[in-house]
């Protein structure tokens, strides 16, 4: 038989084996692609855990945790303004003129103090500019720092602990009871509501949360989830 007559329409035999491989690949790929998109594009993956390198090796674990300085000592505008002020050099120097004032780690702070040039901290939490956020509205309604920033008092370097996505905001705006606490406890990182006998922690939180929701006259769900509350 010569070669020219062999131009026939015929799959090679190995194609029989390819079929199961193909099925596995299609099913596998069908699972794989959505998994990749769901997890890969989720804000827990791309946003949470951002911890930029800061100009000073300042540690919240030391200052807020070990030394127990209240958050508002430094972030003093958090109760009165939308923006939680990052402390000025002067606030650091209140202690550091006489504490470890020759430390290498504090050089940039000393320099800033002498030249008057501010320390350029890198912003960690950053909402898109079209979203409206206000700290005082939350802190004065009994939402603790820990609900949105995690256990800052154990962080050597601050990182973004929560997703800060729109669904995350709305989850709480629908059911704020899970997060509400008395106003004087907002900076307490370890606050737990007092549980009555035989009551679980969650049940105690929900009970206290409901009471506080009444007491502080928190808006209803319709208002809290309306677009213009956060996009104004």
């Amino acid at each position: 038989m010569n070669a020219s007559k062999r131009k026939r329409f015929l799959f090679p035999r190995w194609v029989n084996f390819a079929l199961p491989v193909l099925i596995v690949a299609v099913l596998g790929g069908g699972l794989y692609a959505p998994t990749l998109v769901t997890f890969g594009f989720s804000s827990s993956t791309i946003d949470v855990g951002y911890a930029p390198i800061q100009p000073v090796a300042y540690s919240h674990a030391l200052h807020a945790g070990e030394l127990g300085i209240d958050c508002r000592y430094c972030h003093s505008s958090v109760e009165n303004a939308g923006f939680a002020a990052i402390p000025t050099t002067q606030v650091c120097m209140g202690c550091h003129t006489s504490v470890r004032n020759v430390s290498e780690k504090l050089k940039p702070v000393q320099e800033s103090w002498e030249t008057g040039k501010p320390i350029e901290w890198v912003k960690v939490h950053d909402l898109p500019d079209y979203a409206f956020f206000n700290h005082s509205a939350h802190v004065n309604s009994g939402v603790g720092c820990v609900s949105c920033h995690g256990r800052v008092d154990t962080m050597e370097v601050v990182y973004q602990a929560e997703r800060l996505s729109m669904s995350w905001c709305i989850d709480c705006h629908r059911n704020p009871e899970k997060h509400l606490r008395p106003r004087d406890q907002v900076t307490n990182m370890q606050y737990k509501p007092e549980a009555k006998e035989g009551e679980s922690e969650l049940a105690a939180q929900l009970r206290v949360g409901k009471e506080i929701k009444e007491k502080y006259k928190i808006h209803d769900e319709a208002y809290m989830t309306s677009c213009s509350t956060c996009h104004r």
Binding site: R8, R13, W14, F17, T45, I46, G94, C95
Partner: protein, 263 residues
């Protein structure tokens, strides 16, 4: 030839020349197998990266696929602005500028002292030894007095207790740590113990003097004016006076209906 292949409908295959079965490649060609294996292995890499991203912190900036209007050409508080030499978008107030509603109309409330001309002609501060009228009015009414003192306590515990201790005796956590570092001979420690706020000297200070200590600092203590508003400073002064009173009070001073607290 496979079974049944001799039926007429397969004539087009069988044809005059017949079919040459290709016996060389019964199994998958190696290249297909390699590609499949490499593909299967590589497909774990994105999963591993996602896993790492979810359970680790990263110094790399966040990825935002759709930038939309995330970063608008406006300045938010404490943003940087390269137009200015110090990169500050928020400009520090020009010397002498007064913000609306912050005009100093009342030396007593804003400074705690008034300037008097001394015999040698220089201007000397004279501290008021009472509270400004608006604050005194709040203290005179039991209903508002409690709120004012609780506010003072709250602010004191935030801003002063770190050094002076919650009881005002000067044994706050910062003092304890700094004192320890000094005793261990750590470089760069010029720590001076915070004053005991309830001792006789501090009791004798005029109210305005304590107020001014918060505003402008004193000797080794820095200023707290940028963190604490004037009304809160007066609330703190009132609370310091309360601490001084409480820590020297006799048991008889406790009202009869609260006596059992002492037991």
């Amino acid at each position: 030839m496979p079974a049944g292949a001799d039926q007429p409908k397969f004539d087009y295959i069988n044809g005059p020349a017949g079919v040459l079965e290709d016996f060389r490649l019964r199994k998958l060609p190696p290249i297909v197998i390699y590609v499949a294996i490499v593909g299967a292995v590589l497909s774990w890499i994105p999963l591993a990266l996602i896993f790492r991203a979810r359970y680790n912190t990263s110094t790399e900036p966040r990825i935002h696929f759709f930038q939309d209007m995330d970063n608008q050409t406006k300045f938010r508080p404490q943003d940087d602005n390269p137009l200015f030499a110090d990169n500050r978008a928020m400009r520090p107030a020009v010397a002498g500028a007064v913000a609306r509603g912050q005009l100093n109309e009342d030396d007593h409330f804003v400074n705690g002292y008034s300037l008097v001309t001394a015999s040698n002609g220089s201007q000397e501060p004279q501290f008021f030894n009472r509270f400004p009228q608006s604050v005194q009015a709040q203290l005179d009414d039991p209903a508002t007095a409690q709120a004012l003192l609780l506010r003072g306590q709250n602010r004191f515990n935030i801003y002063c207790a770190a050094c002076h201790g919650q009881d005002g005796q000067g044994k706050g956590p910062i003092h304890l740590r700094a004192d320890e570092l000094t005793r261990n001979g750590v470089q760069g420690m010029q720590w001076v113990a915070p004053s005991n706020l309830v001792d006789q000297d501090r009791r004798n200070r005029p109210d305005g003097h304590i107020y001014n200590t918060i505003t402008n600092g004193i000797r080794n203590m820095g200023s707290y004016a940028s963190q604490i508003a004037p009304a809160d400073r007066w609330a703190i002064v009132a609370y310091v006076r309360t601490l001084q009173f409480a820590q020297s009070a006799k048991p008889e001073a406790v009202p009869a209906d609260k006596q059992d607290v002492l037991k």
